[in-house]
Symmetry: C2
Amino acid sequence: MTDKPIVVIGGGPAGISAAQTACDLGAEVVLIEQRGFLGGTPIAENYASLTPHMRSAEEVVGAMVERLTASTSLEVLLDAEVTGLSGEAGAFALDVAAGGAVRTVDCASIVVASGFRHFDPGRETQMYGYYEYPDVIALQDLEAMLKAGDVRRPSNGETPKRLCFIQCVGSRDRHIGNEYCSKVCCGVASKEAIEVREAIPDCEVFIFYIDMRMYGYWESQIYWPAQERHHVQYVKGIVSEVLAKGDKLLVRGEDTTMGRPMETLMDMVVLSVGMEPSAGTRKLAGILGVEQNKYGFIQAANPPLDTVSTSKPGIFAAGAALGPADLEDCASSGAAAAARALSAARMVIGA
Amino acid sequence: MTDKPIVVIGGGPAGISAAQTACDLGAEVVLIEQRGFLGGTPIAENYASLTPHMRSAEEVVGAMVERLTASTSLEVLLDAEVTGLSGEAGAFALDVAAGGAVRTVDCASIVVASGFRHFDPGRETQMYGYYEYPDVIALQDLEAMLKAGDVRRPSNGETPKRLCFIQCVGSRDRHIGNEYCSKVCCGVASKEAIEVREAIPDCEVFIFYIDMRMYGYWESQIYWPAQERHHVQYVKGIVSEVLAKGDKLLVRGEDTTMGRPMETLMDMVVLSVGMEPSAGTRKLAGILGVEQNKYGFIQAANPPLDTVSTSKPGIFAAGAALGPADLEDCASSGAAAAARALSAARMVIGA
C-alpha cells in the first residue's frame, strides 16, 4: 500500500475518465492541465455536440467535470506544465510549473492523457486554400459556428446554399507523413452535415470521401439517417483542388464512382482535418521518456490486448495521446489506465 | 468496504481483462465461463493470429489466461451457466449451474463479458451458398485453416489459385436486420488475405468491399502493406450471388468503381461474416434484467463517455456483449468495467 497519489496529465475526456476512476477507487489524484480549464479539446475547440448522440458537448463534458471536481481526493493544477521527471515506478517526482512557481509532485504512477491536435490544413498542403479563402474552414470551425447557432459564410455573412466536406485532410496521406486514418472524421463530418441540414434546410450538403468509415453503430446511428432522413449527399471522390470563382468556391476533382472529372461550385468548404499528437503529447513523451511511434503519438507497449502500458513501468497512456481515438476509446482507455496505474502502485485493496 | 467478490461472466478477452484488473486491484473474483476453457472466441474458433500485429492468438491469449489463473484471489467456474439473479447492487446472489449442481454465488457487482457470435451466413441470405458449396467458407473457417497451416479447397483438397473475400455478410444489411457495421471484418479479412498470400504466393487474392473500414492505425498497419507488399487486390463492388461453374465458383456482381457488371471465377470464397450477440449475451440480458438494443446486444446506458454501465446499477458490460468491438475495445472496456464494478461495490481503497 502506498499513500502517494496518482498523477493524471491532461484534463480532456480521457484524463477526466482516468482521474474519476482513480478517485472512485479511493486513490489520491493530482490532475495536471496546461489550459486554464478542464474539458479538453471538446471545450477548447467549442464542439457543438458529441458524436454520435448529438448531446451538447458543453453539457456532457461539463457534467463530467462537475462530478470529478467534487471528489475530495482530487487536486487540480490548471495552467500547469510538466517540466521534468525523476524517480521510478512507485516513487516518481514530477516537476510542475504552475502559477509562476515550480513544485515537485511525488506520485506512485502516471497516466498521460495529453491528447491530439487538429491537423493544420495549411501545413504542406495548400491545395484546399484554408488560409487563402475565408469560406474554406475546418471541422472544428464549423463546430464553433454550430455551437453559436450561426452558420454563415465568413466572407460575406450570407447563409450558405451549398456546402461540402472534404474527407481525409491530413490523414491517409503518405505525402505529409500521416499514413494512418484519423478514425473519427467520417463520423464527425456526418454529424455536422446533419446539423447543417437541420439548421439550414435549404442548404445542400455534400461529403466527398474515399471510404466512409462509419464503424460499429455509427453506421446505423449517423450514416443511414444522414442519407435517408437528412439527405446529405455522399460522393465517393477525390478533391484535388479548391479555387475561387467569383464569390464561390470551385471544387475540382474526380467522382470515382462515376469515373469522371468533377467540378462543382460551393459556398462553403469544410476540411475534415485529421488527428495529430498535440504539442503536449510530443513534449511529454520526451520529458517522461516514453517511446513514441513514427507519428509522434505515444507507443502502446503491448497491443492489442494491453492498450495502456507505455515503454516505461509506472507510466500509462490513454485516449488520443496514443493515436486516433473516439470518445468511447477515451472513456474506456482512461478508466483502464487508471486501474493499471493503481495496481502498478500496489495500492491494492486490503494490502 | 465489502468482502463480497466481483463476478465476471465470460472468459474471452474482455472478461479476462476485467477479471485481471479486478484481481490486480485486490478484489476477490469469480469468473464464470460456459465453455470448458478460458480464452473465448479466439480460442474456440481457432483464430490463427490477432489483428493487427499477427501474433499467434493461442500464444497471446494463452499468456493472458496463464497470468490470470495464477491469481490467488480468483475462482474460475468452467462449463458453468448463470440461471438466475436476485438481490441488488452490493448484494447480488447469482444462481450458477456447474458440474451438475446449482450453487449460489454472492457478489457485490457483475461484469457481463459474454461476447458475440459470428453471423450465420446461411440464415436468411442463401445467395452466397455457404451451406451449398464446400469451397464457400467464412472468416473463422479460414482462420482455422491458417492456424493448421493448411489452406486447401474443401471440395477437392487442392491449393487455391484464386480466392476472394466478400465483405459485409450479415452487416450493413437492413434486410436481415443488422444495420450496424461489424467494425472488425475489414481488418480481419485483410489480415487473412495477407496470410494467404504469404502461405500460397501464387494464389491471387481479392477483397470485394463497400467501404474499407481500416480505421486508425489499421490503415498503415494492414491496408497499405496488404496492397503494396502482398498485392491483395481490393475491388469496390457488390457481390449479388455465388454459383457453381464446373469445379469453380462463379462470383457475380457489380464493380462499382468501373460501373460495370462483374463475373469472375474463384477457387474459394470467404464470407466476411459480421458480429451478432452470442446466445449467452441474449440469454444473460434477460436473466440479469439489463436492457438490450434492437439487435440484442446489451445497451450501454450512458454513451459515449460512460462505456460500461448498463440499465441496472451494479451490473456493467464490456467487449462485444455491447456491440461490434475489436480486441483493443475488449481490453479497454473490460478493465474499465472492472474498475467500475469495484467502485460500485464501494470496495474503495482505505475505506
